[in-house]
């Protein structure tokens, strides 16, 4: 089924700064959805709060703009309720790796069939430029006037180690490449993480488009085998090892593992939302209680 790209547009007023990395990401996301032919009414985009959270307003599917840090548990509830839906969770680096880190850790173990796109701009944008879990050491922000003295969180390494079955990283400055990664994530059966470098042009003076362009290279072109977990881990650590001179983007790791929901016999035939609840039979319960 083909869905036209323009059908995914909405008429909402844009709330991102001119030049924001979110535009590239939005283009890639809509392109991926259109090319996959995902019916719009069977797609839910669940966002957290932050500049990333606004994404659901600009893609004409179902949307749930949840709370800061909570897109993953909301998306999980939606998926378990209706496994027939395509569910995409989106949040920022602060959202997903900071305040919502506990959900990130555990959702990977469960392997729900969800795509999770992280708008990683390495700081807090909507709250006007504080350090985030992925801010590089030495970076000066509103909350680190003398430079960051904590090691940055490595989402890719955590993704591989944590049990995500699709781990990728894209760059908003290359929406065509990013679109393919997102397509792969949505099509993948299991929990797919796509961490996206998404430059914040207003507050992040360090990690600019140019900064990334000078450093990123594509794993596909480098002959990386995403089935090789050890090699994937090696690549995940390359950025910090090279002091961020070489930053790989692309698909790091992919494996096939049963999803959580396909192991539940209760929803083998039909999703929970299709269960008839008009007159639930509880007579079996009485036998045990008598």
């Amino acid at each position: 089924m083909m869905v036209a790209l323009k059908d995914f547009d909405t008429k909402e007023r844009m709330q991102w700064c001119p030049g924001c990395g979110n535009f590239g990401l939005l283009t890639a996301l809509k392109g991926a959805l259109a090319e996959l032919g995902t019916p719009r009414h069977e797609t839910v985009i669940v966002t957290g709060i932050g500049c990333s959270g606004k994404t659901c307003h600009y893609v004409n599917t179902y949307g749930f703009e949840s709370l800061h840090g909570r897109p993953l548990p909301v998306a999980s509830g939606i998926k378990l309720a209706n496994t027939g839906l395509t569910v995409i969770a989106e949040g920022g680096d602060g959202d997903g790796y900071g305040i919502g880190a506990q959900h990130f850790v555990h959702i990977m173990r469960r392997n729900y069939d969800l795509a999770y796109i992280v708008h990683d701009n390495q700081l807090y944008g909507l709250t006007t430029g504080q350090a985030s879990p992925t801010s590089l050491m030495g970076m000066k922000t509103k909350t680190t006037p003398w430079g960051v003295i904590e090691k940055p969180f490595n989402p890719i390494a955590h993704g591989i180690l944590g049990g995500a079955t699709y781990v990728a990283r894209g760059f908003a400055g290359d929406p065509v490449h990013l679109k393919e990664l997102i397509k792969g994530a949505i099509a993948h059966k299991g929990f797919a993480l796509v961490d996206v470098f998404q430059p914040c042009v207003t507050f992040n003076y360090l990690n600019t488009y140019q900064w990334f362009q000078e450093r990123v290279y594509k794993l596909e072109a480098a002959g990386h085998d995403p089935k090789n977990r050890d090699a994937a881990m090696e690549k995940a650590l390359e950025d910090s090892k090279t002091d961020y001179k070489k930053i790989p983007i692309g698909l790091f790791y992919k494996e096939e593992r049963p999803t959580y929901e396909e192991q539940l016999p209760q929803i083998k035939d039909k999703p929970l939302v299709k269960h008839d609840i008009t007159n639930v039979d509880i007579s079996a319960a009485y036998e045990e209680l008598e």
Partner: protein
């Protein structure tokens, strides 16, 4: 626990009225655990302070409980213990039971010591033995016929020994009828009510005393054909529940106060996004970790005020297992129809106590899903469904994902009619007004307090939630003392039905508010909303619920004094005297 439950089941099978009540500390081994079974052929609702028969399984138990035996009551204990050393009251009958000897003769193993005692207790109550066999079969049939037979033999050894040797105990109980009753815990009844209401998804993080809802539902997950999920924390649990409800599935989460603290954030999200959600809050003493395995009613205000902002919610406080079942079912209707959070507020006492009752009348459970949009007209290109349309009654039809032409954003931000974030002042006000407007219809579904006992009385007890149970039994005791009392009980605690509350209270002469907390939270609430007050406040907050004797005692004193005296009555418990070998030189 298993032994106590088996004993209680023997009585339930005999068509009797049974209340079973566990007490235990927050440690797995080495604490003092008790299980009280109250049985009667007349209605009975609550645990009591004084027991007629104490089955003491160790020395400490004889020691602790010798103060809590009724006049002429008995203690059954292992014959290796020298109970006389503890100087029990003279009227107490001491019945030593040679447990290891009886076990050996019956071919049992040491683990079955409790079963010998169970047999003896049943014999002392002069109750027929054959009930044990049926109950043992239920309890142990999974472990094979041999285990069942062994347990029955062991129980019989205790039973026969008691019949032959324990003399002078006056009370007895006979089976009342063959009519089958169910024996159900408060928490189980909430779980079952939710299942009946079509709850397909339960999601929670373990927390005493709410965990038995999780256990019960997960044990029966496949039988009920529902999905039960244990999450990483209560934050996740609440967000899962909201997500599932958004997707159109009736979903519930459950916890105690500490976990509810973590859920508060997402409760606000449910309110702002107008997503229905049901939360069961089984409270225990607070603040902090406090006394995890004990009880208190101190979270009424918390439930009503939890989360930033102002929004509508419903708080239901079941007063017995039947109300647990029906209110759990009703919670989903209210949540769906008004697209609001609904909290079922129970507590450890009701939640973990087990009661005999009739099978629930399922015909009373209706499924009302409220406004769900279906078959929507085609949307103009690049536009969205008006999920938050400004309707006259404040409830806007919601479209579930999967519904063609229902695309919109459900948002925790203030939003316009399609869910797009809006900070327009007029839209903010319009949406806030729309949400508040739901109250007009909602309040018509909130009954006022229920009256128990005689219509006209000299004194009216006023209680909410679980304290209905000791109050009902206190009415009986008071009647015996010649005090004409009745009970006004609130199970729909919020919002307050002002008219009905005022009407009910205007008919009362003297009133005693009875709450299991230290500040009289319902009293404050009723004063605030309905401008009503009470003559006396009876409060208890030592970790236990009220016992009927305590209520009857205090109200009896008030009656004797012509209802004059201090307005505030704080009831405290006598501590168990801990077994102290040094002090007693044992």
């Amino acid at each position: 626990m298993v032994t106590g439950r088996s004993l209680a089941k023997c009585f339930t099978r005999g068509g009797l009225n049974v209340v079973a009540y566990p007490e235990y500390p927050s440690i797995i081994r080495g604490g003092h655990n008790t299980y009280q079974v109250v049985v009667s052929d007349k209605p009975v609702h609550s645990p009591v302070q004084q027991s007629d028969i104490i089955v003491a399984l160790n020395k400490d138990a004889v020691f602790y409980h010798r103060e809590f035996v009724s006049q002429g009551g008995a203690i059954i204990y292992d014959s290796s213990i020298d109970a006389q050393k503890f100087k029990p009251r003279k009227d107490i009958l001491l019945f030593p039971l040679p447990i290891s000897e009886l076990l050996a003769k019956a071919g049992g193993i040491p683990k079955m010591a409790n079963t010998v005692a169970l047999g003896a207790a049943l014999a002392l109550a002069d109750y027929p033995f054959d009930f044990i066999e049926h109950v043992m079969r239920d309890e142990f049939s999974r472990k094979g016929d041999e285990v069942v037979k062994q347990n029955v033999a062991v129980a019989k050894a205790g039973y026969d020994y008691a019949k032959g040797n324990f003399k002078g105990f006056k009370k007895s109980i006979k089976p009342a009828s063959d009519k089958r009753k169910i024996f159900i815990e408060g928490n189980e009844a909430i779980g079952l009510g939710a299942v009946k209401a079509g709850m397909k998804f339960y999601v929670a993080y373990p927390m005493t005393p709410a965990s038995t809802i999780l256990h019960y539902l997960i044990e029966n997950e496949r039988k009920f054909n529902i999905v039960v999920k244990q999450t990483e924390d209560e934050i996740a649990a609440m967000n899962y529940a909201v997500g599932a409800n958004f997707a159109g599935v009736r979903a519930m989460t459950g916890t105690s106060g500490g976990g509810f603290s973590l859920m508060v954030e997402a409760m606000g999200m449910a309110a702002e996004s107008e997503t229905p959600v049901v939360v069961t809050l089984v409270s225990r003493p607070g603040p902090g970790t406090c006394m995890p395995t004990w009880t208190e009613q101190a979270e009424l205000r918390f439930a009503i005020h939890a989360s930033q902002g102002e929004f509508l919610r419903v708080v239901l406080a079941p007063g017995d297992v039947d109300e647990c079942f029906y209110l759990a079912a009703q919670a989903f209707n209210l949540a769906d129809k008004y697209q609001i959070p609904v909290i079922i507020l129970s507590d450890k006492f009701l939640g973990e106590s087990t009661f005999s009752t009739e099978r629930f009348d399922e015909s009373k459970v209706r499924i009302e899903r409220g406004k769900i949009a279906k078959g929507l007209p085609e949307l103009a290109p690049n536009t969205r469904f008006r999920r938050y349309a400004l309707t006259a009654d404040g409830v806007s039809p919601r479209a579930l994902p999967g519904e063609q032409n229902g695309m919109h954003v459900s948002s925790s931000y203030e939003h316009d009619e399609t869910g797009f974030s809006s900070e327009d002042f007029s839209m903010r006000k319009a949406q806030a007004d729309k949400r508040a407007k739901k109250m007009d219809a909602l309040i018509r579904e909130i009954p006022g307090p229920a009256l128990y006992g005689p219509k006209a009385a000299d004194v009216t007890l006023v209680a909410w939630g679980s304290q209905k149970l000791p109050c009902l039994d206190a009415l009986e005791i008071l009647a015996g003392k010649g005090v004409k009392a009745n009970l006004l009980h609130f199970s729909y605690v919020f919002p307050v039905n002002v008219k009905e509350t005022q009407k009910a209270l205007s008919k009362c002469r003297k009133t005693v508010l009875i709450e299991n907390n230290s500040t009289g939270q319902l009293g404050g609430l009723l004063k605030q909303y309905a401008d009503v007050g009470f003559d006396f406040h009876m409060l208890k907050y030592d970790g236990r619920q009220f016992f009927p004797e305590q209520i009857a005692d205090e109200v009896g004193k008030l009656a004797a004094a012509g209802y004059k005296g201090k307005k505030e009555i704080r009831v405290a418990e006598k501590d168990y005297e801990y077994y102290n070998t040094q002090r007693y030189g044992l």
